[in-house]
Amino acid sequence: MLANLGYFSLVLTFVAALYGAGAAAYGAVRRRPALVESARHAMLLTWPLVTLASLSIIALLVGRHYEVKYVAAVTSNAMPTYLKVTALWGGQAGSLVFWSWLLSAFATAASLRRWERDREFLPWVIVVTMITLAFFISLVIFFENPFQRLWQTLDGRQVSALFQPSGTIPLFPTDGQGLNPLLRHPGMVIHPPMLYLGFVSFVIPYAFAIAALVTRRTDDRWIRITRRWTLVAWLFLSLGLILGGRWAYDVLGWGGYWGWDPVEIAAFMPWLTGTAFLHSVMIQEKRGMLKHWNMLLIILTYSLVIFGTFLTRSGVLSSVHAFAQSAIGPMFFGFIGLTFVVSVSLLMNRWGELRGENHLGSVFARESLFLLNNLLFMGILVVCFWGVLFPLISELFTGQKVTVGPPFYERATGPLWVGLLFLMGVAPLSAYGATSWRSLGRGLWKLLLLSLIVPAALYFSGVTLAGALIGYWLIGFVAIVTLVEFWRGALARHRRHAESLPLAFWRMAIRNRRRYGGYIIHLGVVLMAIGIIGIEMFQTETQGTLARGESLSLGRYTLTYESLAQFDTADGRNVARAVVQVSRDGRNLGDLYPRRDFYYASQQPMTIPGVRSSLQDDFYVLLVGWEPIAQEGATFKIYHNPAVNFVWMGGLIFIAATLLAAWPTREFDGLREAATARAVVARA
């Protein structure tokens, strides 16, 4: 019953979305406001409908309806209720419904907020969002249906179908397989929704961009309308990536947080184009330039969002042939291709109308540096895209699978990251318009010189690795430039008003959230970079098999194996848990409990590290293996991860600052103000 209700609400959503897209387009072209209004109503209907479908799935999951295939696949009796609810996005079919739910919610929010103001754009926003929604819903109702039930044929085979196939009887399992144990982690519960929020929110700026192209409103209006959407999308995507990293560090048991896995890269690619976009739209807002480029960037971001979902959902990564067999793969492929080609042709068609209002004054002007920044981000994107795609191409053409692993990405993107760090330091010192090399140099040289203190201090404290010294030098440089920028801002207010410096600083930041939020984000990146260089260049590891009481040393740390216990738990795990004592320079730091959980149902082991964290480093212990109790030996792998906690601290600052930048201002109505401001400046 519940399953039927959910299914039919999805079918209705599909119909409503298709009608909405069609009616909005027709109504806009033929100028029939009544039809557009009707399309809008159809669109407003989609969110309650998908909500109903999602609630039905959740009710089935929580109600232990294991006769539904999806429920049996992702939940089990042993799972707590909150995990059953979040199993909505734990499997393929459910996560596609969740995606659709978010999209319908955002489409509704985008059109409800400023319907009157954005009247000319909104029909086309409806068209774009509803076509995307119809696509995702069609995947769900035709290929990956979460409401399919299990049936048993007379010869005992198990089949799944929505309605009872002839010659079958309903099957009522009493328990399910349960969610993949790797996903039963609090980080994994919130990580996918964050990524999806990020993915889906990028659809809205894209929709406005297409609307701007169709309606020939090619000024920066669409950018200003979607400025906050873009920031929010970027915020969630960043948060999703950081949470994913933390999850990997806590659960996957390989001593790191980022493995250049295609699934990670799938989420990273839209982040790259999104970040480039966030930077380059500022140039369009300020100088009326780069209009083509911004359009292209948002089109790319949208395509990469769909591509990312495709990569993780179609099975293409495990094998090209799995992709060809799954119906969902070619559908995705077709949809990405079609939307990309249509968007780019539309852009080509409007190319002439997107001419810049301004031209470049100098190679050292801030807009040029932003373009360089974009070039570097695109370079990283190409590396990522190619690295993910190449194994598929190789398999397709030569039949041979190859691995494109971390060393490739690290070597290829390393210099590009260094370039970005350098630009992050230089760009705030350059001015818009015509900046000469001399004037930029005049602002630059003192700070560059000052920042040399960082590598010098490191060198004298024993760091001799050239790469690390250069990296930390640039980090120091960016930090100094950014802090000086804050200082200049605070000083400007302080001199004029009788405000104390901290107050002046605070007011300055609050009144110019995007500017100073952006600079604080840069500081977050600086902190993260400290940690990334720390773990990339200075991580050490060792492994050894110890009898009870024996020790294993790594650097200043010593680990002593005390005991090991092995036991079954009520939720279907076999746990082997070791107790090890950790000391540094002979001083006892306490015990750690690395363990290995073995999930009986899924026959899957999971390695949970024991970690001793401090600001300067992590001591990270894995239980690799153990001998029968009688011999009481165990093998441990230990990692020393210097500065890794800067990654998480930087991440927190990064997210908080993005929130600050995206936070609504009361007097915000950038549209009119910027136009008047530009007019005033022009007159003066």
Binding site: F390, T403, G489, Q543
Partner: protein
């Protein structure tokens, strides 16, 4: 997992006395770190994108045991890697060897980057030759006079 480990440990238990007995004439048995140093550069065909040194599956434990055996027999790192390539194909390597179609892996990204840089260079040149006067920059949308002044300061330095 535990079973594989047991198998492995039993194997080691059998091998250990042999190794110890021959210790007088042979170098000491390879350490875990030596095994991991090689395993870190290899990927098994089953576990996607998990390097062999940290992969917890049974198959990978057996591979590590193989590496240990080969090391004990005096094989070099290159020989061991070649052995795995011969057995399981080039996909066991962390990056594809640069020959045949694989060249594309290494050539395309730098080529694309250079092409992008060239386009950018051309754009800079063509913009630079444009002699129309610059349209003044719009101040921040929020219209904060201080930010405008900060930007002005940067410009005046020239």
């Amino acid at each position: 997992m535990q079973r594989s480990l047991k198998v492995y440990l039993v194997l080691m238990a059998i091998a250990a006395p042999v190794l110890i007995a021959s210790a007088a004439v042979q170098p000491p048995p390879p350490s875990d770190d030596e095994v991991n140093a090689i395993a870190h550069q290899l990927y098994c065909p089953v576990c996607e994108n998990v390097p062999l040194d940290v992969c917890p599956t049974q198959a990978c434990a057996q591979w590590r045991a193989t590496i240990r055996d080969k090391l004990a027999q005096g094989w070099s790192e290159a020989q061991i890697k070649d052995y795995f390539v011969e057995q399981y194909g080039e996909r066991v390597l962390a990056t594809p060897p640069a020959r045949g179609l694989n060249w594309l892996v290494y050539v395309l990204p730098p080529a694309a980057f250079l092409a992008g840089a060239f386009v950018l260079y051309r754009a800079f040149r063509s913009w630079g030759q444009n002699s129309e006067p610059l349209v003044p920059t719009a101040p921040d949308a929020d219209g904060d006079p201080y930010v405008a002044r900060l930007e002005e300061e940067l410009r005046r330095r020239s």
